[in-house]
């Protein structure tokens, strides 16, 4: 199977990335609708947050602080579930977390989709592609740094609100793979820029 052009590996990947992009976008919209709908209709909603911690297998607490109840920590799932009512801090953390993950993911898949479209047209070395790849690299680096800062505040919030009642200690889980990937993608972007230069020089020679 050829790698570039129509009916190639690139076209298969473009379809996969496009499906991922639209599925993510749809999921993001549905998630926002559910969150805002629950808040408007019920005033209270159930939160499920991903957490890393050191603790026994399952912990439960009926009420930890004002506006937070039915707290359950599932060690095997790495999840903290609880009900919250009119709590702006909970909403802020939920929205920021969702915006950070979906924002980066949607941006990266959109750029990938555009890059793969140019591969399908058999034009890999475009100056736009070099820019898109660099943008992906910068997005990954920013994600890595911002998620580390966000994670620090998130863990601090969890430890002040839930740790004592649940008898656990929440820990920061920072994945530096995104930092490495960002650097790697920046280098690939530079290679594409050189390729685009070669392509332009060839076009001028002809």
């Amino acid at each position: 199977m050829k790698s570039l052009g129509v009916h190639s590996l690139s076209s298969v990947l473009r379809i996969i990335v496009s499906v991922c992009f639209y599925a993510q976008a749809a999921f993001f919209v549905v998630l926002l609708l559910i969150i805002t709908g629950q808040l408007w209709l019920q005033g209270e909603r159930q939160y499920t947050w991903p957490v890393a911690f050191t603790a026994p297998a399952v912990q439960k607490a009926e009420k930890v602080s004002q506006g937070i109840s039915a707290v359950s920590l599932k060690a095997t799932e790495g999840q903290l579930s609880f009900n919250g009512k009119n709590h702006w801090q909970l909403e802020l953390f939920t929205m920021l977390g969702i915006a950070l993950v979906f924002g980066t993911s949607l941006f990266v898949t959109l750029q990938l989709k555009r890059i793969l479209s140019s591969f399908v047209r058999d034009k890999p070395f475009l100056s736009q592609n070099a820019g898109r790849i660099k943008a992906i690299g910068i997005a990954l680096l920013l994600y890595s740094v911002v998620s580390a800062f966000f994670g620090w505040f998130y863990v601090h919030f969890l430890n002040t609100r839930f740790a004592a009642e649940l008898n656990v200690h929440f820990t920061l889980h920072w994945d530096f793979v995104f930092l490495l990937m960002g650097l790697l993608v920046l280098v690939i972007g530079e290679i594409f820029r050189i390729g685009a230069q070669l392509q332009e020089e060839k076009a001028l020679t002809i």
Binding site: A57, T76, F125, V187, I191, E201
Partner: protein
Amino acid sequence: MLLLGHRFIRWACFLALFLIVVQLLLGIEWLWGDIQRYRTGDALDAIRGYRYSIWEILRDFSVVLSGILVLLLLLRIFISFKNDRIFDAVNIRRLRSVGWIYLGYAAVRIILLVIIITCVVRVSGTLPLLHRLAYGLAPVSGYVLYGLIVWVVAAVFREGLQLQEDQELTV
């Protein structure tokens, strides 16, 4: 061109090596830890016995081995950039090897996942829930995708090599 310069590559290599060593140290924690402990976020680890830990050690070993191989190949590619010959036939082969390693690793993960699930079924007498199976398969599909993307990048490098050779012939 500054990004591909000697200093950047050296620092990128050092950073990558430092981070991979940290990752390895975190990854081989089980060597001195309690092997039957619960690990957060991994549903299949909830049911675990010493008899079946060999498959988990193999799973961790495949992570480390494939990680080292990919890193070595990438380092050799980066180091070859020092010669200012970006598009090179050897680099294309290295990139294709990286793609194969990703696909091979995904295959190993699938085989080990099947074995671990069989072990879980023997111990618990029940089949893991579907979403738990999906949890185990999700990273595998990611590695297949990475492998295919690296192959496409290798094909782009081949195009670049042709352009580079055309330019050298023109000059």
